[in-house]
């Protein structure tokens, strides 16, 4: 059985958001390549917890973080709040998919090319090859391959969510944060995404917020419940 190095670690991590305590002195060490589920009641701060690992909470301000958060990026552990690690680079390496699919109101092809465009990559051949590869990975190529110029907002909810995952994967992230990615999908769409996560296991560390215990049983390697500001391991 291969051993995986630590991908995510926190020390004495406390976080308050809008004056409300979310986390209290949390120590965590999560192995790379695993699927880690986070559960807990609604409104307890699970989504906020995810946004700590790509510093996306800073977009809304009004949060206060104490303690240490280290991620394995490019082979070494980086303190993302202390080491002056560039924010845009961090977010390219730590992808995030939201509860509600959020394709940009542009074509499917442009949605997929968007993360590369942000990095000033203009090689059309590379973008096309990579887009097709990621669409194949999320089992979407057969469904939309012949209409890549169609507006992404015209796709079904499940297709949109898979597109968002494919868009995120364009950057070959080392860590993927998923905030209830299947909550707005039917069973078929849900199973497709779970199959995709199975394929990503081993190469990508996946931290996923979910409400479904059966989903946890099916795909998670570890599960933590967020309760009273602390993470309690339940699997």
């Amino acid at each position: 059985m291969p051993t995986f190095p630590t991908a995510i670690s926190t020390q004495q991590l406390s976080f308050r958001y809008g004056g409300v305590p979310i986390l209290h002195e949390v120590d965590l060490a999560l192995s790379a390549g695993k699927i880690i589920a986070i559960t807990g009641p609604s409104g307890i701060g699970k989504s906020t917890l995810l946004s700590i690992f790509n510093r996306l909470w800073e977009e809304n301000g009004d949060g206060r973080l104490q303690g240490q958060v280290k991620l394995r990026l490019d082979g070494s552990m980086v303190d993302i709040y202390q080491d002056a690690y560039p924010l845009d680079t961090l977010r390219r390496k730590v992808g995030m998919v939201f509860q509600t699919p959020n394709p940009l109101p542009m074509s499917i092809a442009k949605n997929l090319a968007f993360p590369l465009r942000l990095m000033h990559i203009k090689d059309k051949g590379l973008i096309t090859t990579k887009s097709e590869e990621m669409l194949r990975k999320v089992h979407l190529l057969d469904e939309v391959g012949d209409r890549l110029q169609a507006n992404a907002t015209q796709l079904s909810g499940g297709q949109q969510q898979r597109l968002c995952i494919a868009r995120s994967l364009m950057l070959e992230q080392e860590i993927l944060l998923l905030d209830e990615p299947t909550s707005s999908l039917d069973r078929q769409g849900c199973l497709r995404i779970e199959a995709l996560l199975h394929e990503l296991r081993g190469t990508t560390t996946i931290l996923m917020v979910t409400h479904y215990q059966d989903q946890v049983q099916r795909i998670a390697d570890l599960c933590y419940e967020l309760r009273e500001g602390r993470l309690h391991q339940t699997l």
């Binding site: 790509n54 996306l56 809304n60 680079t89 939201f98 109101p105 074509s107 968007f114």
Partner: protein
């Protein structure tokens, strides 16, 4: 709420929506009835051949051509002066300003928006006197000064409409770019502004309308009844709103009044063409972004 009240309210809203449209139709019909018969090339070019006037071979003294050119140039110059500061101001207020800055600057822009245009005209007039004293014989009331005063007049419209457009973006779209590694500026330029281009162009159209119709500012800062074609931005100039105002207050016979109504129709058409151009730009931009 019972069904009858709901139907009554729906009808009221429908009528309220219809009212401005009805007023617009009445105004257009009235202008067409009163000035439609004066609409011909002679109204614009007098007796000068149109091509000679357009190529600048002959001056038009008794037609609307100099006023038409004056108004077009004035609107374009005003937009050139106000557009970038207006958009940047709106972006700053929506995306960068602290809550305190937002409150103070927002109040300031609201005060400017509420200033009567005659006050801004007076300020422009005072500036022209100052410049005339500092540079005798070189500066006075002119098109550049009018455009500067009009730019100041429309600036709050541009700032506030841009700010409102950006503020209306849903959070889910707002964080899509940053979650993929977009810097703040990349997010603004590649996601936020394109997604609200329709609202922003709407604000620009309103500002164009305001600049094109204002008379109080230009009559104090450079517009005159008879100046012929302007030769530089430091010249006095003719403008359609001022021509309409002048004719309506000084007309000597029915034919002259009819020409005033004709000028109103020309101004109306000019504004419509500028709006159409703005809409085409918006549609072209949206199509490019969405595909």
């Amino acid at each position: 709420m019972n069904r009858a009240t709901e139907r009554g309210l729906t009808l009221l809203c429908w009528l309220c929506g219809l009212l401005p449209l009805a007023i617009l139709c009445i105004v257009i019909c009235y202008l067409l009835v009163r000035g439609g018969s004066s609409l011909n090339l002679a109204l614009i070019f007098d007796r000068v051949p149109a091509m000679d006037a357009l190529l600048g071979h002959q001056q038009v003294f008794d037609g609307l051509f100099p006023a038409l050119c004056g108004t077009t140039m004035l609107v374009l110059l005003t937009l050139a002066l106000a557009l970038i500061p207006g958009l940047c101001g709106g972006i700053y207020l929506a995306e960068y300003a602290s809550p305190l800055e937002r409150r103070i600057l927002g109040l300031l822009f609201d005060i400017i928006a509420g200033l009567p245009s005659i006050v801004i005209g007076l300020a422009g007039f005072s500036l022209s006197i100052l410049l005339h004293r500092l540079f005798p014989g070189r500066f006075g009331p002119c098109m550049l000064l009018s455009a500067m005063a009009l730019a100041f007049l429309i600036l709050p419209y541009l700032v506030r409409s841009t700010q409102a457009a950006l503020n209306s973006i849903p959070q889910s779209l707002r964080i899509t770019g940053p979650a993929l590694g977009a810097s703040k500026l990349q997010n603004i330029l590649l996601v936020l502004l394109p997604s609200r281009i329709q609202d922003i162009i709407g604000g620009i159209i309103l500002a164009i309308g305001r600049a094109a119709e204002d008379t109080a500012v230009i009559m104090l800062t450079g517009a005159v009844a008879s100046a012929g074609m302007f030769r530089s931005l430091l010249d006095q100039y003719e403008a359609l709103p001022f021509y309409i105002y002048y004719i309506s207050s000084q007309y000597t016979d029915a034919e002259e009044l009819q020409r005033g109504f004709g000028a109103a129709l020309v101004l109306f058409t000019l504004c419509g063409l500028i709006f159409l151009l703005a809409l085409l730009v918006e549609q072209g931009f949206s199509r490019r972004w969405k595909r």
